[in-house]
Subunit: 188 residues, 2 copies
């Protein structure tokens, strides 16, 4: 498992409700207007909560986007059981595929590509790739897991973004297979 915030299973039902309403409203508005055009007011109105309540849970809309992205990406990883695994070439290949599809889907899902949005998703996703690879490496007792993980994470994200930008993309699996050695070499 990824290092998890020790979520207390028994949470006040009021905060569960509020968070759920906020997330729901946020994802709706994200699809409708895009991230830049959407205000905290909008979220509060749509979720039918008080605006002050929003600030009791998130410092601003950027923090909400961060959390949303983290959770979505983590869910994607866990769906493919990547977070519990040790390092292997197969897992690395699967990770690359996951990142490619996640970025592609985020770009469809959100309205238009926006500066704020793009840099934020980059940071969050790259950070998580790095955490995962660090975990893999430290499980093997590798020396200097941080530097190797940093390089690999940046490389993977950059490659994935490049793939997404292409006009006529090759199939994800083929692309992943192609770039695999570029990343795997430094992790051996």
């Amino acid at each position: 498992m990824l290092p998890n915030a020790p979520t207390p299973e028994k949470l006040d039902p009021r905060v569960k409700r509020t968070r759920s309403l906020i997330r729901q409203a946020f994802s709706e508005l994200l699809a409708e207007k895009g991230f830049g055009a959407l205000s905290v007011q909008d979220i509060a109105e749509r979720a039918e909560i008080n605006r002050a309540t929003f600030y009791a849970h998130y410092p601003d809309k950027f923090a909400l986007l961060k959390e949303t992205l983290r959770q979505a990406f983590r869910a994607e990883l866990e769906k493919r059981t990547l977070s519990a695994c040790h390092y292997s070439e197969d897992n690395l290949r699967a990770l690359i595929v996951t990142v490619c599809e996640f970025i592609a889907r985020s770009n469809e899902h959100c309205k238009a590509s926006e500066q704020q949005f793009d840099s934020l998703i980059e940071n969050q996703v790259r950070r998580q790739i790095q955490e995962l690879i660090e975990l893999w490496l430290s499980q093997r007792g590798a020396a200097q897991p941080q530097t190797a993980a940093t390089a690999a994470a940046w490389a993977i994200y950059g490659l994935a973004e490049g793939w997404v930008r292409q006009k006529n993309r090759p199939p994800v699996e083929a692309f992943a297979e192609q770039v695999l050695p570029l990343v795997a070499g430094n992790l051996k």
Copy 2:
């Protein structure tokens, strides 16, 4: 319009949420277990609210059922724009049809026919029929609207229930047409 509780349009969003959750949980449980087998505990758990909160809104599950039935029947009336109309034979016929279908649908919708449930639905529905007919009669300036309305309401409900009990029911419209004179005679 029927005499309406002057619902303040701006209601605390918390109570809107809570009531909505309670109603939702209640109707689910009603369909699953029936009214008799369902406890306040069940409702609170399903709705994910505290049991004490339920009692802040309803004295017991019977009150909740009453409100639910009133609202459902009123909605049915308003859908057919019966509540805003004056008296006429057409409206009376439509009222009879409405009652028949409402009782029939309630019996399907709820699990098994139960004593508590049946007497409660009878009371609530009959009371509303009576209110509506009283309104019709008083709008025409009729003398003694209460006694005539009482008789008509009981008659309509009894006839409708009889129709529902039949093994091979005739079409509702035919039945309504048939019994119409039994009721209309006293309202002229």
